[in-house]
Amino acid sequence: MAVERFPIEAGHIMCFARAIGDANPAYYGALTGDGAVPAPPTFVQASAQFDPGYPLRPKIGEPWFGSGREATGRPQGGAGSGGGSGGTGLHAEQHYTYHRPLRAGDVLHATTKPGERWEKQGRRGGTLVFSEMVTEYRDERGELVVTARTVGVQTEKVPG
């Protein structure tokens, strides 16, 4: 993932706060015009909106794998969880480190690099493969604002 421009907007923070059921007035500056509007701790996840290649958003003019006339717009057979991220990948863990408070008015950019990779024996005999992705969100001066570490897990088929 590479996000070249992620503007932190008060209206976006308001919609995000509503979605997570957060009534903290600090997040509603777009309505009231009050003060500096802080971003909720998990807000940088919404950078997906600014990632041109993000696979879990319908692309204009392209088929989508959700339901329309049929239960999926994707050829049947290989569908499963994980959607456009490919295969049976699941989000296992998410970690954030905040280097300074993030507020409306900041403009971030982000780059993602692979991190560690490890295996664990699953309870049903298959192998679980864990892999990390580390995303650095920086401001316009290049200063680090948030580091995000995503751990995904892939289930490998039980032999036989």
């Binding site: 976006h12 919609c15 995000f16 509503r18 979605a19 997570i20 059921g21 957060d22 903290n24 600090a26 997040y27 802080p38 971003a39 909720p40 701790p41 998990t42 996840q45 919404a46 950078s47 997906a48 909106q49 990632d51 993000y54 879990l56 958003r57 319908p58 989508w64 794998f65 959700g66 339901s67 239960a71 999926t72 049947q76 569908a79 499963g80 969880s81 959607g83 456009g84 699941l90 989000h91 296992a92 863990e93 998410q94 970690h95 954030y96 480190t97 905040y98 408070p101 570490r149």
Partner: protein, 132 residues
């Protein structure tokens, strides 16, 4: 600044009932439009789940409220979570945060657990916050 000591506990009801509409709201706000979270027909007929279910990040976002209600959004230095079990429409979620070590510089370590109406843990998290 909020002053706390080891063992202090805060409990917060995150929602009396997770609704499908809330999953749609979170899809729209976050940009994660995976139909597993909003499209009942896809989730059941194609993916084989009993219904749509919540984004792990929605549960993590809701759980964050127990931290920010207590210490404020700008006191949070780190927040990490493990997605333990799926959250379904109809679930009632409660988050419990417990203060562990409070360091000399005022940084407190928290452990947080979010459970559903059956008492099952759905998300387990840690955070560090600036206090005092």
């Amino acid at each position: 600044m909020t002053t706390v000591k080891a063992g202090d506990v805060k409990e917060l009801v995150l929602t009396e009932e997770v609704t499908r509409t809330q999953l749609v709201q979170y899809s729209g706000a976050s940009g994660d439009y995976n139909p597993l979270h909003s499209d009942e027909r896809y989730a059941t007929e194609v993916a084989g789940f009993p219904s749509v279910f919540a984004h792990g990040m929605l549960t993590m976002g809701m759980t964050g409220r127990v931290i920010t209600d207590w210490f404020g959004p700008e006191a949070v230095l780190s927040y990490g979570a493990r997605f333990v079990a799926q959250v379904w429409p109809g679930d009632r979620l409660v988050a419990t945060a417990t203060v562990g070590t409070v360091r000399d510089d005022g940084v407190a370590e928290l452990t947080i657990s979010t459970t559903n109406q059956s008492g099952d843990v759905v998300l387990s998290a840690t955070a560090t916050v600036r206090t005092g």
